[in-house]
Each structure stands twice: as structure tokens, then as C-alpha cells.
């Protein structure tokens, strides 16, 4: 799938190399605590978030500057989303949802820098994020509603004969949620980056005359900028939808 040989000059395109996890220092085994490029780019995401959300708002200006405006916009965007989608009683979960959104959006955009490493392109990362949401939502659902949370799977508005079948479908879809939730994000990010890398390989092989591959890189990059934001948005809004199901399980 990955590498390709083109004649004795040995054109090789490794679109997946950008996703390799390497230790920052030395070349040894990767233990769970080893500082790797994952560590570096997650740390950069933290730095970027702190610069925007903490340093940017440090003046607490009534008339905001540029960075404070963006920080306030991000706050208002997610706060309104939580309020509108998950309901007013869900605003207690706003800090956690904001954490998810900020982490994903900053990881996605940092991953668009050339030579960077995209942490959200890894299924391990997005699966943890999705499992946190899935487990959290399930626990919240049972804690808040008790056994009546199971009413989420029992479609009381459907004819009685259909209800068991619908229940099977509902339960299946409920357990597929974390899978689709995580693969959607990682898949989108990974695919775009890989495609860009493939075109970059073509451009490298063609040299000066590589107008078409460079044009394609530009186009895909533009699409990736869109995807970087939209996937973060989708992940967050789905979290809100799941949270709404947990807080108000009745159909």
C-alpha cells in the first residue's frame, strides 16, 4: 500500500512515515513514559491552548483584542453548542467538552504544519477520546436516570411487536458509537495527510514541472484546513448529542 518503486532511480513514496512514532531522544524502545513526538506535539497543543485561552485573555479587556476575541468566540461557540444540543442541565460538563474540542482542533491544525506530527491521526488517541465520552455518557446516564436509562433502547412510540427488533438495533448502534466516533476523526485526518504526502512524492519525482501535483497538494490542503475544523466540530457536537441521550433518555 505504501511504498512504490519507479525504476532504478528508486522513487519511493512513504505516505505513512509521517505517522511513525519515534522517541525524541535516542532510538530505544518506546515505553509508556518515553518522550516521543507524540509528547512533543501534544505539549505544543497545550502551549497553543494556553497562549490563546490564558495569555490571550490576560488583559480581561471589556473591548477585546484579537486573541481575546478568538478565545471568547471559542468559548461562546462550545458553550452555546452544549446548551442548545445537550440542554441547559449539561453546562456542568462544559469544561470537559471544551477540553475535548480545544485539544482536537489544536492537534488538527498543528498537524497541518509541514513536517509536523498529527496526534489525532492515531486511532489510539481518538479511541481513548471516544471511549472516555462513551463510558462517561453511559455512567452519567445510569447515575442520573437509574434503570430507566435503558428506556433509551426501548422505543415506546413504536408498535409493541417491533420494539424488540428496534431494541437490538438501538443497542448495536449504541455500542458502535465509540467506534464510528473515533474512526471518523482519525480516518479523516490520516487520509488527508496521506494523500498530501502521495502528491508531494509525485511532485518530488517530477521536479520543476510538477504543476499538477502541486496544484493538487494545494487543493487537498485547503480541504484539510476545512476538515481539521469540521472534524473537531463533529466530534464535539456528537459528544453533546450522546450527552443529551444520557441526560434525557426518553425518545
Amino acid at each position: 500500500m505504501a511504498a512504490e518503486a519507479a525504476g532504478p532511480s528508486g522513487l519511493q513514496i512513504h505516505p505513512m512515515d509521517q505517522f511513525m512514532i519515534k522517541p525524541l531522544f535516542g532510538n530505544g524502545e518506546i515505553a509508556f513514559y518515553t518522550p516521543t513526538n507524540v509528547t512533543l506535539w501534544m505539549a505544543l497543543a497545550i502551549v497553543a491552548i494556553v497562549v490563546l485561552m490564558v495569555v490571550g485573555t490576560s488583559s480581561r479587556a471589556i473591548v477585546p483584542g484579537r486573541r481575546q476575541s478568538v478565545a471568547e468566540m471559542a468559548y461562546g461557540f462550545i458553550y452555546k453548542m452544549v446548551e442548545d444540543v445537550a440542554g441547559k442541565d449539561a453546562v456542568g460538563f462544559f469544561p470537559y467538552i471544551m477540553t475535548l474540542f480545544m485539544f482536537i482542533v489544536f492537534s488538527n491544525f498543528l498537524g497541518l504544519l509541514p513536517m509536523s506530527f498529527t496526534t489525532t491521526s492515531h486511532i489510539a488517541v481518538t479511541a481513548v477520546l471516544a471511549m472516555l465520552v462513551f463510558l462517561g455518557v453511559t455512567i452519567i446516564g445510569f447515575v442520573k436516570n437509574g434503570v430507566s436509562f435503558l428506556g433509551l433502547f426501548w422505543v415506546s412510540s413504536a408498535p409493541l411487536a417491533l420494539r424488540p427488533i428496534l431494541a437490538i438495533i438501538e443497542v448495536t448502534s449504541y455500542f458502535v458509537r465509540p467506534v464510528s466516533h473515533s474512526i471518523r476523526l482519525a480516518g479523516n485526518v490520516m487520509a488527508g495527510h496521506a494523500v498530501i504526502k502521495v502528491f508531494a512524492g509525485f511532485a518530488g519525482a517530477m521536479g520543476i514541472g510538477a504543476i499538477l501535483p502541486i496544484g493538487m497538494i494545494t487543493a487537498v490542503y485547503a480541504l484539510e484546513v476545512l476538515v481539521a475544523f469540521i472534524q473537531a466540530y463533529v466530534f464535539t457536537i456528537l459528544t453533546c448529542v450522546y450527552l443529551k441521550d444520557a441526560l434525557h433518555p426518553s425518545h
Binding site: 505504501a2 532504478p8 505517522f19 509508556f32 516521543t36 497545550i46 485573555t57 478565545a71 485539544f103
Partner: protein, 184 residues
């Protein structure tokens, strides 16, 4: 790709690399999962605390403060507007008062002038009447005088004419004749 029969060394190398890459999709390399999950957990905890302890309360307070300021400003603006309306009302009232007063003064002055005028006209009328009466007397005198004179001249002239014609004029006859004529 796997069925390639190329025997060139470079192609063999590429083939091996391809096998390696295909077998080792970095996303599926389980050995790196603990590392990623550990650092992700650290990252999420750090971001969560930075946001929930510092950034979000701060932004919330800034937004609340701004809303408060805007509300206050609107209230103040409404206050000022009410004041402006009041001032306008006062001004209009003062203007109306001044207008009424001016009209009053105009009417008063007019009446005064009219009274003065009436008085002056009456006085002038009286004077004119007096003058007219005086003139009438004078005219009557003159007229009487003139009649006497005409009578005398007519008598004298008649006597002279009669004398000139060679007659002898009787004074009493002439006088009665002239008187008779003048009456006619």
C-alpha cells in the same frame, strides 16, 4: 505488488520496504499505544485544569462584566434621553409662556395706543368743529358786509347812472328799487 518478478536489487529493496510499511501501519503498531495513551491522558488533564481553573472562569467573568457594562450603558443612555426630553419640554413650555406674554404685551400696547388715538381724534374733532364754527361766523359776517357794500354801491351807481342820464334821482325811490332788486 506482491507478485512482482523483477530481479533488480533496487526493486527487491523497494519490495521489502513496501512489505514492511504495509505490515507496519504506524496507527496499528500496538507497542506504541501505551505511550500515546499515557501522554494523551497527561495532555487532557493539563488542558482540563488550565481551562477549568483559569481560562473558562476568566472568560465567563469577562463576558458577564461586558454584559453588565452594556446593560449599565444602555440604562445610562436611557436616563440621559429622559433628561433630554424633560429639558426639551421645559424649553417648549418656556417658549409658550414667552409667546403668551408677548401676545399680552402686544394686546396691552395696542389698547393703550388705541385709547390715546381715540383721545387725540376726539380732541382734533372738537378743534376742527370749533374752527369750522368760527369760520362760519366769519363767512356770515363777510357775507353780511358784502351785501351792505353791494347795496351801497348799487344805490350809488344807480344814482350816478340816473344823474348821468339827466334824471333827478330820488334817494328813497332808488333805495327801495335796489332793495327790491336785490331780494329778487
Amino acid at each position: 505488488m506482491a507478485n512482482t518478478t523483477n530481479t533488480a536489487d533496487a526493486s527487491q529493496d523497494a519490495f521489502r520496504a513496501a512489505e514492511e510499511a504495509a505490515g507496519g501501519l504506524p496507527q496499528l503498531e500496538l507497542s506504541t499505544f501505551p505511550n500515546q495513551i499515557f501522554w494523551l491522558a497527561v495532555t487532557l488533564v493539563v488542558i482540563f485544569f488550565v481551562l477549568s481553573k483559569v481560562a473558562l472562569p476568566r472568560i465567563a467573568s469577562v463576558l458577564a462584566e461586558r454584559r453588565g457594562t452594556i446593560t449599565n450603558d444602555i440604562a445610562a443612555a436611557e436616563d440621559l434621553k429622559a433628561k433630554a426630553l424633560e429639558a426639551e419640554e421645559t424649553y417648549n413650555k418656556a417658549l409658550a409662556d414667552a409667546r403668551t406674554e408677548a401676545a399680552q404685551i402686544v394686546a396691552d400696547t395696542k389698547a393703550e395706543i388705541q385709547a390715546d388715538l381715540d383721545k387725540a381724534i376726539a380732541k382734533a374733532d372738537a378743534e376742527i368743529a370749533a374752527k369750522a364754527a368760527e369760520s362760519e361766523t366769519a363767512i356770515a359776517d363777510i357775507r353780511a358786509g358784502a351785501e351792505e357794500a353791494v347795496k351801497a354801491v348799487a344805490k350809488d351807481t344807480a344814482k350816478e347812472i340816473i344823474a348821468a342820464l339827466g334824471g333827478k334821482a330820488d334817494g328813497r325811490t332808488v333805495t327801495s328799487a335796489v332793495t327790491a332788486r336785490m331780494k329778487g
